[in-house]
């Protein structure tokens, strides 16, 4: 459940927020950082599509441009949405881990042999 009913994000917009959590970055730096930690190479169109949506929602903000490169930074609202999104992901991951543990226990349990005669 999202924390305090706050909307959560997934996919490219979430990766952009995660990347900006470690400091302001421009498009090229974002792309390299996301490839590094998420092992996903976002295309330039996908990346800037996500940046545009996040900026429209006030989750990131553009900083003064350096030549044609414009760095972006996380806003306080963006940080809150990132926190809620990460909490939701953690909850899903915990649930997945606990179900895997149940599955592993079930597999360790000895099964009755199929050909055995009933006593």
């Amino acid at each position: 459940m999202p924390a305090a009913g706050r909307p959560t994000l997934a996919g490219p917009p979430l990766f952009v927020l995660m990347s900006l959590a470690s400091g302001p970055k421009h498009g090229h730096a974002l792309m390299k950082d996301i490839t590094g930690f998420a092992m996903v190479r976002l295309g330039p169109g996908t990346l800037y599509g996500a940046i545009g949506r996040l900026e429209d929602r006030g989750l990131i903000a553009a900083m003064p441009a350096d030549d044609r490169r414009r760095p972006y930074e996380l806003t306080s609202e963006g940080a809150a949405v990132l926190e809620a999104s990460v909490a939701e992901l953690r909850q899903i991951a915990d649930e997945g881990a606990s179900r895997l543990a149940i599955l592993a226990r079930a597999r360790r349990r000895p099964r009755p042999s199929l050909g055995a005669e009933p006593a």
Binding site: P44, G45, Y48, R68
Partner: protein
């Protein structure tokens, strides 16, 4: 900025291109300098741009359709207040002429529905007093607007 980069950025809608076009083109140039530009990067830019255009068009026609629906609802309210839906009485209601001008071009899609609503509100309801054929209604697109004129059956017909 390379020609190829700028051509692919042109797939994006105008306002978006004004805001982010230079940055995307700069990113494409940077990838090319790093020898990391792949054909699928250009495909990604064009694909995302076309998707944005489609999304913007859908949103515009949704707003247009919503505007048309509101206009039709207002027309219905007006006709109701004018007595078009009232029960037949000893004194027949006066004939009602009117014209609805809907500014949204998206009404083109809704024209059959709108005509149907106008026909129902002006003809069928009073058909107990006059034949339905005695009313007329038609839609006429004029310069992006759609004008619907109608006439209810007169009491003498």
């Amino acid at each position: 900025m390379s020609k190829k980069a700028w051509r692919s950025v042109r797939a994006f809608p105008g306002p978006w291109r004004d805001r982010y076009g230079d940055e995307v083109a700069d990113l494409l140039d940077q990838l090319r300098r790093d020898d990391d530009l792949r054909a699928r990067d250009l495909v990604d830019v064009v694909r995302t741009g076309l998707a944005m255009r489609r999304h913007a068009r859908t949103r515009r026609s949704l707003y247009g359709a919503l505007g048309s629906a509101v206009a039709v609802a207002c027309a219905l309210v007006g006709l109701t207040l004018a007595g078009a839906f009232g029960p037949s009485s000893a004194i027949p209601p006066p004939p009602l002429d009117g014209r609805i001008v809907v500014l949204a071009p998206a009404l083109e899609h809704l024209r059959p529905i709108t005509l149907c609503v106008v026909t129902l509100s002006t003809g069928a309801v009073r058909s107990c007093q006059a034949p339905a054929s005695s009313h007329s209604s038609h839609a006429r697109p004029v310069g992006g607007r759609t004008t619907i004129t109608f006439r209810t059956p007169s009491s003498s017909s």
